[in-house]
C-alpha cells in the first residue's frame, strides 16, 4: 500500500524563488534562509519520495475571483509554472500523479470532504517555491506532485479543525491506495506576516515558535485556534498556517521532529520550516533520520 512517511512544513515567500532563480541564494541576505534547508535537501535525496501531496494556496494566479474553491485537488498529468506578472519562473514543469490523485479525490468525497477537482491549471510560487527549497535546481523535479489548493485569501477560509480533519482523511485515502508508494505531505505558507495596511510588517516570533512546538508530539490543541487569533497574533496573512494543519493531521496521533528552522526576515515574512516523522509505531525510519552529514554520505 501507499503510506505517508513524512510531513514537511515551509513558508513559500515568492522572493525565495527569485533568489534561487537568480543565484542569490547564498548571499548575505538569503544565505541564512537557504542554509536552514541544506539538511532537508540532503534528507530528501536519501528519502526519495515517489509522490508529494503539496498543500498550498494560489495567489490570484490559477484562480481569480470568478471561482473560489475551499479545497481543490489537482488530478492532472502536468502543470506549468504561472506567469505572476513578470514571466513564469524558469523551473521544471510539475508532473502530477493522476491515479493517486483521483483515488484520493474519490476517497475524500466519500469521507464527506467535497473536493473541487482540477484537471488543468498553472501553479504559482505557493507551490514552486517549496519545491526549490526542498529539491534545489534539478532539470526535473525528482517526484510526482499532487497539488492541493486551499482558499486562505477570501474569508472565511476553512477552520483549523477542518484542515486537521482533512489531513486525517488524506492519510486514510493514501493508505487505501494499493500501489507501494512513498508519499510525503507538505504544508506551506506562513509564518507570521502582514502584507497590507498600517500594521504591515508584523512578526510574532513567540507565537510562531509556539505553533512550531505544537506540531511536534501528540497534542492536537492547534486545531482549536480560531481565525481571529491568527489575525491578531500573526498578521493578516498568517492565516496561511492553517494549511500546515492539513499536513499535521495526516501524520497520525504523534510526531517527532527531524529538523527545524526559523528565520526573520524574508521580505515581509517570518520563515518557518519543520520536518516531521509520524511516530505511532509505524517504523518509518526510511533513512535513519540521522544528522545531515550521515544522510548526505549515503
Amino acid at each position: 500500500m501507499a503510506r505517508i512517511t513524512a510531513g514537511v512544513a515551509s513558508s513559500h515567500v515568492p522572493l525565495l524563488g527569485v533568489a534561487s532563480d537568480f543565484g542569490k541564494d547564498r548571499d548575505d541576505y538569503f544565505g541564512p534562509i537557504f542554509a536552514g534547508y541544506d539538511w532537508t535537501r540532503a534528507w530528501e535525496k536519501a528519502e526519495k519520495p515517489d509522490v508529494v501531496v503539496l498543500v498550498y494556496n494560489d495567489h490570484a494566479s490559477a484562480f481569480d475571483m470568478k471561482i473560489i474553491p475551499t479545497f481543490a485537488i489537482g488530478c492532472g498529468e502536468r502543470y506549468k509554472s504561472a506567469d505572476e506578472g513578470w514571466g513564469p519562473r524558469a523551473v521544471p514543469d510539475v508532473e502530477g500523479h493522476p491515479d493517486l490523485a483521483w483515488h484520493m479525490a474519490q476517497s475524500l468525497i466519500l469521507d464527506e470532504f467535497d473536493m473541487t477537482i482540477i484537471n488543468e491549471m498553472d501553479v504559482d510560487h505557493g507551490l514552486t517555491v517549496p519545491l526549490s527549497m526542498m529539491f534545489g535546481k534539478p532539470d526535473a523535479w525528482p517526484c510526482k506532485i499532487i497539488p492541493l489548493a486551499v482558499n486562505v485569501v477570501t474569508y472565511p477560509p476553512p477552520s483549523g479543525n477542518r484542515c486537521w480533519a482533512l489531513g486525517e482523511a488524506i492519510k486514510k485515502a493514501v493508505e487505501s491506495f494499493p500501489e507501494n508508494l512513498n508519499v510525503q505531505i507538505w504544508g506551506t505558507g506562513g509564518m507570521s506576516h502582514q502584507l497590507q495596511g498600517a500594521r504591515a510588517g508584523l512578526i510574532n516570533k513567540a507565537w510562531d515558535n509556539m505553533f512550531l512546538n505544537g506540531l511536534i508530539g501528540d497534542s492536537d490543541h492547534l486545531r482549536r485556534i480560531p481565525h481571529i487569533e491568527y489575525l491578531r497574533e500573526t498578521g493578516s496573512e498568517g492565516i496561511e498556517m492553517v494549511m500546515w494543519l492539513i499536513m499535521r493531521g495526516a501524520m497520525g496521533r504523534k510526531t517527532r521532529a527531524l529538523h527545524r528552522h526559523y528565520h526573520v526576515p524574508c521580505s515581509n515574512t517570518a520563515i518557518g520550516h519543520l520536518v516531521l516523522r509520524p511516530d505511532n509505531g509505524e517504523g518509518l525510519d526510511m533513512t535513519g533520520s540521522g544528522t545531515a552529514t550521515e544522510i548526505a554520505a549515503e
Partner: protein, 136 residues
Amino acid sequence: MSDPFDIHDYLAEFEDIPGTRVYTAARARQGYHMNQFAMSLMKAENRERFKADERAYLDEWPLTQDQKQALLDRDYNRCLDLGGNVYFLSKLFSTDGIPFAEAVSTMTDMSFPEYREMMMKGGRSPEGLRSIREKR
C-alpha cells in the same frame, strides 16, 4: 463537528484589529471588478495597453470613480478600503516594476528604507496592535 459559532460575532471581531482590513465577502463583492482588473495585468499585452493609457484602460472596467482614482494614485490603503485585495493588487506592483515589500511599505507611515530596516530588526511587534478595544 464544528464548534458553536455566531457569524455576526465572527465578522465583527475583524473590525477590532488595528491597521488591518480583512478580505471579507463584503469587501470581495465591493472590489470584484477592481481585483479582476488587476488580474488582467497578468497578460503582457494588457500590461502594455494599461501603461500606454492608464485612464483609458481603467475606463473599460465597471469601476467607481473612487476606485479608478485610488488605482491611478497607487493609494493602496484606499484600494483596500474600496475592496481591493493585496494579492490581486500585486499584479499592479509588478506592472510598475516595484518590489512587493516596497508597495507594502507605502501603506505604512514609513519610507521603504525605514520599513526594510524595521524588518531587518525583526519586524513590527504585535504589542498594542492586537485589539483596538482591549488595547493590547
